[in-house]
Structure formats: C-alpha cells, structure tokens
C-alpha cells in the first residue's frame, strides 16, 4: 500500500511544470495555537508580491510565484515544506518561527538558499562572517531588549538605578533570547531584573501575575507569542498594573493581542520594527489585489500591525531581488544571486517613499559582515477607544556596545560547535 501511494504521489509531484519565475515559498501557519499571528503576516507577505505582479508585472519583468505551505508552527511540517519547495527554485525562506529557523539554518546554508528571519530566529545570525546565508535585518531580539531599556532610560532622565524590571517570557528558545542582554544591561544600569517564565501555551498566568503584584516592579517587559499575550494583557488589567509600564516586544504588539481585553488594555505599549499608518502602498494593494479578488486570506487584515510587517518583509525581499538583478544583470536570479542581493541591500528613506511606504522601517544597509541592520525599533501604544496602535516615538537605536560582544560570543560558540570557518569579509 505504501508503494502504491508512493507512486501515485510521485506522479502528482512530477506533473507540476517548473516555470522560470521568482519562486517565493511562504511557510505560513493558519492553523494551530499560533494561527492568530501567522494569518495576518502571511496575508501581507503574499498580497505584496501579488500586488507587484498585478501592477508592475513582477520585478525586472519576472513574475513572482508564491508557494504557500502550511507548517502549523510545527518544525517537522516546516522541514517537509522546505524540502517540498526548495526544488522549485525557492529564492528566500521566511518561516516566521524560531523553531523552524533553527532547523533551516544548517540546511539552507548547505543548499545555498538565503534565509530571512526578520526580527526572530537566531540573534547571532547577525554576524555574517559566520552565518553566510542567514539574515535577520532590520532588527533582532537583543536589539529589541536594548531598545526597550534605552526608551525607558529616556523616560527616566537617563537612569534606571534601583528600579525593578520584570521580564515575563515564553518558556522557549524564543522567550529566552533577551535574558542575556537584559542581564548585562541590568548590571550596567543598576536595575533589578526579575525573570518569570510562562510555559507553552500560556493560558494560565495567575501565579506569575500574583508575583508581579507582590514584587511591585516599575516595569514589566514581555516576550510573548500566541495566547500568552492576550492572557498577560488581561491579567495585567486585572491586577490594575499601570498599562503604560507594561511593554511587549514586537511579537507581542498586534491588534489581536489587546482587543480581547477590551478597554482595559488601553495604554499597553509594545515595540515595533515597522512603521504603521496610511501608506500609499495599501491603496495599491486594495485596488490591484483585494478588489481583483486575489487577496490572500479573507482580506480583513489590511493595514494591521502584523499584516504591515508581512508586507514589509515582502518589500525587503523584492528590493533584494531588484538589487540582485542589477548586480548580476539577469532577471531570473538564482538563490545564490538572491543572497548577494540581500547582502548588498540598502534601504533609504527616499527608496521607501518611492515604494509607497514612507517610514515603514528605519534606514539601514546590509553588508558582508553585518546581516542584522541597525536594530532600531519604535515604541507604540494601544488606543482602546480608537482600536488602533499609535506610534509614539521615532525609531530608537539599540546599544550596540552591549549587543555586539554578545553576538560575537554566541556566533563564535556556534562556529566552534559546528566546525564553521569564519568568512573573511575584508576582501
């Protein structure tokens, strides 16, 4: 029976003709515990490419072909999706899952396909000398932690001496990322750091919030994802924790994280690596994609935080493709050329304006040694009566003096454990 299925499936797989398009796999998750975050991101990611197809005929005359593959945030399904799509000539992977990223880092590097883990995944991948095929611009978790502390320093006239800050984190690889940075920062700035872990899925946080209530911290920083965010916002409201002192990272700052708590969530703050607002590019997506009935998903997410971030990810990929096309003089680029394009990517304010998305991200440029961008992020605040996120600040810079040594250290450890020679970027 197995063999029969095997043959049938081989036939099915072979029947799809391989087209010379720009192939973009979208490893999305529209089911499972984290679907609420996966859906808008994937919608934005696909809609942008579709919009380019409809409006400009792709990039450089080449059309995009998107292959969506459902991972349900599960690493084994992610591997299956990767293996199923890489043979189609996939240019870049954007798995939106730390677990799947860790799977794909060695695999994609061996296969020569670039991996863009935008603000998630392995932080030390910012070191391009070790991680040749992995990019995590425009910002990574350690930048994020540093940005939050910098923003708090700003509010407190430059000193957090004697303050108490709680880190509430998802008890997984993702949630543990900021700990080391925050520990260094707490020594440097003299604040006390209290760490509270929340186990997957995070449905219950009663004890954690009782502790917070007892400890009376000045600030609570949250590294959460999925249902953990909604519960945390609700619990914070329950204990009447001042919401403006409760700050999420950029994966804990979407509409669906705060709406279930209703008015009580008003004032909750979160980081964001992309700008928000009414950008011309949304109008283009509306006319060329949604009105044409090509919207990914049900089309209800246009302009939301994670939709915008997905669109921003697509925009960065499309820009890298354009750069790669210019560098190599061919329109139908290969994954290796795509890698070169990503490494030479430069986002300027003028370029973002041209793309119809002024202020969607900070200005940054990628280089051989630096795959991480500037690491800048903005602070945003939830306005419950208007039901929208309001961007409070400009993009704030992290403290590179803190994050850079940590990146060096962690990537050196990875290189030693896996026998990787550092590339020489001086050449």
């Amino acid at each position: 029976m197995k063999k029969l299925t095997t043959m049938v499936m081989a036939g099915v797989m072979a029947s799809g003709p391989a087209l010379a398009d720009l192939v973009i796999p979208d490893l999305s998750y529209r089911t499972g515990a984290y679907a609420a975050g996966g859906i808008p991101f994937s919608d934005g990611y696909q809609d942008y490419f579709n919009m380019l197809n409809q409006r400009d005929g792709g990039v450089g005359g080449e059309m995009f072909r998107i292959i969506e593959c459902e991972t349900a945030y599960n690493t084994e399904r992610g591997v299956e999706c990767y293996e199923a799509t890489k043979g189609e000539g996939a240019l870049v992977y954007q798995p939106l899952s730390t677990g799947i990223t860790y799977q794909l880092i060695p695999r994609a590097t061996a296969d020569g396909i670039p991996l863009h883990t935008m603000g998630y995944g392995r932080t030390s991948a910012a070191n391009g000398e070790i991680f040749s095929n992995v990019f995590n611009y425009p910002a990574n978790y350690w930048d994020g932690a540093s940005v939050i502390i910098n923003a708090l320093l700003d509010e407190n006239d430059g000193s957090l001496e004697g303050q108490k800050i709680v880190l509430l984190y998802h008890n997984s690889a993702y949630g543990r990322e900021p700990i080391r940075t925050l520990e260094v920062l707490s020594e440097q700035h003299g604040f006390e750091l209290v760490q509270l872990a929340v186990d997957h899925p995070g449905q219950e946080q009663g004890n954690q919030w009782l502790t917070i209530r007892r400890e009376r911290p000045d600030y609570v920083i949250m590294w959460g994802w999925g249902v953990m965010n909604q519960v945390a916002v609700q619990e914070a409201a329950n204990i009447r924790f001042p919401m403006e002192n409760f700050i999420g990272n950029w994966w804990a700052g979407a509409e669906h994280d705060v709406i279930p708590a209703g008015d009580a969530a008003n004032g909750y703050r979160a980081l964001n690596m992309n700008g928000l607002g009414d950008m011309p590019v949304f109008a283009d997506i509306q006319t060329h994609v949604h009105d044409a009935g090509l919207a990914a998903g049900d089309g209800s997410n246009l302009g939301s935080v994670l939709y915008t971030r997905g669109m921003y990810a697509a925009m960065l990929a499309a820009e890298a493709i354009r750069v790669a096309q210019e560098m190599h003089g061919v329109a139908a680029i290969t994954p290796a050329m795509m890698r070169d394009g990503m490494e030479a990517l430069e986002m300027t304010a003028a370029r973002m304006e041209e793309l119809g998305a002024p202020g969607i991200g900070p200005e940054f440029s990628v280089s051989c040694s630096d795959h991480g961008g500037t690491g800048m992020a903005a602070m945003q605040q939830w306005n419950a009566s208007e039901q929208e996120w309001v961007t409070l600040t400009d993009f704030i810079a992290p403290d590179d003096a803190v994050t850079q040594p940590l990146i060096e250290e962690d990537s050196a450890m990875f290189a030693a454990e896996n026998g990787i020679e550092a590339r020489d970027c001086a050449m």
Binding site: G32, A33, L196, E204, G206, N207, V227, Q234
Partner: protein, 338 residues
C-alpha cells in the same frame, strides 16, 4: 516571614479559585466516564467548539464562510444581523451541543458498544481531531473575543477587607468568583437532576450497571445522548469561563490537559472527587510554585529557585496520591478477580 505567610494565604486563595476552573473541565469527563465508561479526551475540544459556536452565533457569523467563499467565489461573512443577545446565543449553542451529542452517539459510539476501554478512548481522540477541524472550518482560526458581560478584574471588596486585616490587599479576580458560583450552581443542579428526575435516576442506574438498567427498560441510547449533552453543556460553561479570560482560540482545547491530574486525584467516577481534586491541584501547584520560586523560602535554603513548574507538578502530586490510593481519592474501589 509573616509577609511570606500573608502572601502564601493569597496564593492559596487564588489556587482554590483556579482549582474551581479545573474542576469545571473535569466535571464533563466524570459525567461521561461514569455513565458509559468512556474516557472522553475530546472534552477540551468540546469546550473550544462550544465557545467558538457561542461567539460565532453572537457575532452573527456565517458558519463555514471561508469554505463557502473559497468554493463558490462568494464574499459572505455575516448574517444580516451583527449581534445576537447573549442569552439567545447561549440557548442556541446548547441546542448545537445537544445535536453534537446525538451525532456522537449515533455515528460513533453506537458502533463501538462493548469494545475495550482503550478503543473507546482512541475513538474520543479521533473525535477530538475531527471536532477541532470542524470548529476551524466553521468559524475560522482567528482569535475571537467572548463578551457576555462577565465581570473581570480585581475584587475591590476583598482587596479592601484584607487590607484592613493584614495591611496587604488580596487579589481575587471577579471572574474567578463568578466561576466558583457558577460551578456551585452547576454541581447542585447536576446532583438535583440525578436525584430527583426520572431521567437522572435512569442515568444513575446506567452508571451502576448497564445490563441491569437495560433489563428494567431503560434506553441506554437515550441515557448516553443525555450524558453527552450534559457534558456538552458543562463544556460550554467551561469554555465560556476560560474563553472570557484569554479570548476564544485554539489553545482553549489544551485545558483538557489541566483536568487530567484532577481526575486522577479525584477518581474518574466521582463528581465530588472532581471538585475536591480540582481544589487540591489548584492549591498544591500554586503553593509549590510560590515556595520554589521564592528567593526568601526555597532560595534561602537551596541557593537556587525554580519556576514554571505548574505543568508537571500537578501530575506528580496526583501520582504521589495514586501510589497510596490507586483508584483516586473518591474513585470506586478496584476489585480484581481471576
């Protein structure tokens, strides 16, 4: 140290409240297990399904909208009305759950009468997958906000009273208080139903002895549909309480995992066992977490602290109890004969 004692009291009070929430889920398991010997793993998914249906009806969504739109290229999302009164929506959801009970009995367990318990258990796992898929297809997998007007947030009366007593105000969530009252009413209602109505007595007879019940003319089929309906209703209550806390989404189905240690501890066949078990687990895990994560208590003795222990401690606690009482605290004594 007195400080720590006061904190510990607050932790215990909240643990009791959490225990009630666990007991709400465990109740559904007990009802079905007692009457039919089926260990219903799908109870958690039923809670999710019920809560999603409630929200869906309340918001006037079209069931299977995404599927219909994808198949026929239409663009429908809402029925002409955008909100249905909470009570009407609850009534409609109860009807849906009764329909589900009928479906489950007719299509699945009718064909599995007399099978080994492990097979029945497997069937409920199959049912869990099936229901989860159907729930997603019907209502989509986005997060929904459940709002039927339940109060939330700190109870100020308790806060102020305890502040006057101890100089430290206890935190008790209003929603937890509501849940405790609802649970009490629910249990009282179930007990009254089982004691004083004809159907309830039939249910107890079946739970006692299938064959004997059958021989005095009780319809097993009817009783089983009845207990599945009751379990569906309990699932709706549990789903509503938990859903109000976190929004209605996939993870709601995982609350079944919190109910399992409660069942082990209380015994699979006892309603009071579910309540007492829930309270013991709720208090036990909260207190354990409080002690081992505290720098002043555990940390002072051992030099390190532990946290996020809730998930496994409940099971270990139940395991320890079981080693001494293998049928749970209130379970029927297991008599083995060759």
């Amino acid at each position: 140290m007195p400080d720590q004692l006061i904190f510990a009291m607050e932790v215990v009070a909240n643990g009791l409240m959490t225990g009630v929430m666990y007991a709400l889920v465990a109740l559904g398991f007990v009802l079905i297990y007692k009457a039919s010997g089926i260990f219903n793993y799908a109870q958690g998914v039923m809670a999710l399904f019920a809560a999603m249906t409630l929200v869906g009806i309340q918001e006037g969504r079209v069931p299977f909208a995404h599927l219909i739109n994808a198949t026929f290229g239409t663009e429908i999302h809402h029925l002409p009305w955008h909100s249905v009164p909470a009570l009407l929506a609850i009534a409609l959801t109860v009807l849906v759950m009764i329909g589900l009970a009928w479906f489950v009995q007719k299509v699945v367990f009718h064909h599995l009468v007399g099978q080994e318990p492990i097979i029945l258990f497997m069937a409920t796992i199959g049912l869990a997958y099936f229901l989860e898929g159907v729930a997603d297809l019907m209502w989509g997998s986005e997060i929904r906000t459940l709002d039927i007007g339940l109060p939330q947030g700190i109870n100020t009366i308790i806060d102020e009273t305890t502040f006057n007593w101890f100089g430290y105000g206890f935190f008790i969530d209003n929603l937890d208080i509501v849940a405790a009252i609802v649970a009490a009413v629910l249990v009282a209602g179930l007990v009254a139903f089982a004691q004083y109505t004809k159907q309830g007595r039939a249910m107890r007879a079946v739970a006692d002895d299938h064959q004997a019940a059958l021989s005095v003319g009780i319809s097993l089929n009817f009783v089983w549909i009845l207990v599945w309906s009751l379990a569906g209703f309990v699932a709706l209550v549990a789903g509503t309480m938990w859903g109000a806390k976190s929004g209605v989404q996939f993870s709601l189905s995982l609350i079944a995992l919190k109910a399992l240690p409660v069942l082990m501890l209380g015994g699979f066949t006892s309603i009071p066992g579910a309540i007492v078990g829930g309270l013991i687990i709720g208090v036990g895990e909260a207190l354990f977490e409080f002690i081992v994560s505290s720098n002043d208590i555990f940390g002072a003795v051992f030099g390190f602290t532990l946290n996020a222990t809730e998930n496994w401690f409940a099971y270990v606690l139940a395991l320890i109890f079981l080693v001494f009482r293998p049928q749970g605290l209130f379970g029927e004594k297991i008599i083995e004969r060759v």
